[in-house]
Chain length 273, copies 4
């Protein structure tokens, strides 16, 4: 039996103070990519009005095309650090290769392993050797068994602070970028003691569906959501079509807050006053 | 533009008194197949304790293998009629071929077109010529556009009483019989004025996931759910692995009732006292 | 064990003189839909220059949209009959509903059951009761086991003259209408005694790929191919993008002839001189 | 336009003397994983009887489970080097992380990037900076556009010696590990000047289908095949179910030889006498 499948109380993962699992709800938001210091502060200004308790933002971006914006690298991490301190909440950022583990470790509160790297086993082992939490996204066409085994690579190195993230799977319908697989969320919650969260932005690929699928994720048992937002989605350097604008995001936050509370979760308010 | 895509207030479909759409929630339940009169009355006895407002049961069963139980045919419809009158709620039953339209019309309050027949266009046209509602299930690998076009075949014959039903799509993960596609539910609710409901039994193929995915469906905006139940799922002649037993079903009914009310739907109580 | 899985020498299906299976290669071609008598005679004129031994053409067309061309019905069958006699080869045409079995039986030499109807079990049973061969296409998302079971519905009624046809399956890549599944062809050839043929037109959805995939199908062990051709594909009422024009078709025929012969099949020349 | 899509004559990639593309056929074979020196020499003894012109074998193995055999690492590379010199043909071996690029470069004649790493863009860039050929496998659920973009990452760093390898994609049918996508092979041959080869072992996941799908791949236009073989497949530490035994492999080699020659390719005989 895999370690991830052991019968144990739900693991509460602590990301520099923000807890997820065991009744603690993770509300993570931010832009797809850190584009500039100005932009991230603009986003911070409206995140302040919400109970977001984890900031997200890509500094090292894995892009389908080599000619797309590839992220700001270490500069992006520095900006994230600054904004995260300004907000008083921790941040998560993606690590795309073993050679970046050290630099991401230096700044971020939590590693993100993206879908494209779910089976980069050397990378999984490397973050498994650290003492920082890992937000592990399911591969685009990974079975739930493969997903659990990917988590096992991390646990097997000694790091149990793993958060599983369902983010949509490949399907035959060109109408959707991905199909959000809430079967997997309910299933994983029964199968493992690790917290499970949902990314409705990638999971739908459509701004107009994010609200409904966020609520559905919570109803399905998700321990948190991770949402993309941008003050001007049409001009975003990455994934604008699925990012919520300010008004949509504020409105989502309010609905999430009450539904999370109806569902019996605690949504920690962390931000500085 | 398709008729189904016209901008209109959500259609309220009236199934012999049970309404669905426009705030009216459809709670449909029953066995996969009508196996016997005794069994259906046994099920009726516990459905009485719930706010179920539409009875379901297969009399003509489309089965993968010719050697599986194929249903009781007209005898099954008679039993459904009797039990539906006993409960004081209408019933829906599947029609699998144009030659059965007349006989199903004679007994049932609502036609069901199953996944395997979503693209049986002659059948769609035939039920489109009648004045009874049609519960149209999405094909296992139908895109949402194909699904809307299938509904269009019915509307185009003059019958606007169509209820769309998402019931899970084919995917690569052998862990699940199907992947319940709640993206499609939220999308269809924006795209069409027809009511949209969800079948979490086929949509998951696992009894243990039905409860969570029923709630998720409602959160995603579904106008109703259709659930399989059997007093003794292990002995069911069809789909036992995804049917809820008595205790599970009663418990689900209670959760559904309060969540439906939290979500602002009306769940008509129809049954006789 | 299913009848279709019995260990027996490959069935040779005889379609009014044209044989398929057991070393006999079926070369079937024609337009997607019969559009007019003139058009079909125009096609016949270049089919005459090739070893095509079965004419195809849709009279009853199952179309995604109710507003697309739906076929000429019985008039289409009459035209096919006339052209088939002119060429001296039999023809196959699709039957989409039990109520059309009689009329298609009256004219056609072979029934075609299309992908959308692979699981229309009543229809399968109905053609299973006749004495004419059935060309059964695999459903767009049918597993090979479901495909074999669909054939079993026909055999179980007493009709063993079934030809299985792989025509591409649904996949995640929007570049292709379908993915031609040659794994299934090689697998089915080992698993059943029925002849197996391939439809590279639907299987690729791109005119430019038909030639290569026809050859690949033969190399994979296919007992025949069924190809769409149209003298003016750009103006075809259906599926023009995957239909070969005259020049392409003549050229394909020549390559097919020599490769079929290299592969040890017999390609019957049937047409009148 | 991508570099990989430029109109140019097919690139002939030279792997330490073995050529692929532009009429040169690559016949690559070996075990899934290098298990021991003894085993690889046993395999070499029967490869000698065939026109295999590239040896394959995994030293760094990306395995779904952390508890499966993970490969011999550098020791495996040393064994491959020794056997490759014994045979007089070059070898290819997988590199799974940027930190192994240097060590694999030291021994191997060609890098292999596996399916799980097709989107490990840092790894692609790293091998793109070297002067050794790269055999790039398509991701399990990568579209052909994503596949071409992955190759572009390598070309964009200056290394044009890229061989594309189709190895099967994820599908809904549990009967097959993957579906070999020969549509993609024919399509890629039209779209890019890079050589395209096929892996029928992973592409089918069944030993009994490898022969037929190898031939189909060649008919579809493939510039080569890469096949797994093992003297005792039942005891292989990895992928035995899809590896050919000695007799099957010798027999395949003979068929490949004549079919390659029928198809007009040159199959270089490289091995020492």
């Amino acid at each position: 039996m895999l370690k991830v499948e052991q019968k144990r109380p739900t693991k509460i993962v602590d990301i520099s103070g923000t807890k997820v699992g065991g009744g603690h709800f993770l509300f993570c938001a931010g832009p797809c990519a850190v584009e500039s210091r100005e932009l991230l502060f603009k986003i911070a200004d409206y995140l302040k009005k919400t109970p977001v308790n984890l900031l997200r933002g890509g500094a090292f971006k894995p892009r389908t095309s080599p000619y797309s914006f590839q992220g700001l690298g270490e500069d992006g991490l520095k900006i994230l650090k600054e904004v995260s301190e300004y907000l008083g909440i921790p941040f998560v950022s993606e690590v795309t290769d073993t050679k970046y583990v050290e630099i991401v470790y230096k700044y971020a509160d939590c590693f993100q392993i993206g879908s494209r790297n779910m089976s980069s086993f050397e990378l999984l082992k490397e973050v498994g050797k650290t003492d920082k939490p890992v937000l592990l996204k399911r591969g685009m066409a990974a079975t739930v068994k493969e997903f659990l085994n990917a988590a096992e690579y991390i646990l097997n190195e000694g790091n149990e602070n793993v958060i599983l993230c369902e983010r949509g799977i490949r399907s035959f319908d060109p109408e959707f970028r991905n199909i959000l697989d809430l079967n997997a969320v309910a299933f994983l919650k029964q199968k493992t003691f690790l917290p499970v969260i949902v990314d409705p932005s990638h999971g739908t690929g459509k701004r107009s569906l994010v609200r409904r699928l966020s609520l559905a994720a919570i109803a399905a048992g998700s321990d948190g959501i991770i949402v993309e937002t941008h003050p001007n989605p049409e001009k975003a350097l990455s994934d604008g079509f699925q990012s919520l604008n300010i008004k949509e995001f504020i409105s989502l936050s309010q609905e999430i807050s009450s539904f999370v509370s109806y569902s019996g979760y605690e949504l920690q308010k962390h931000q500085k006053d």
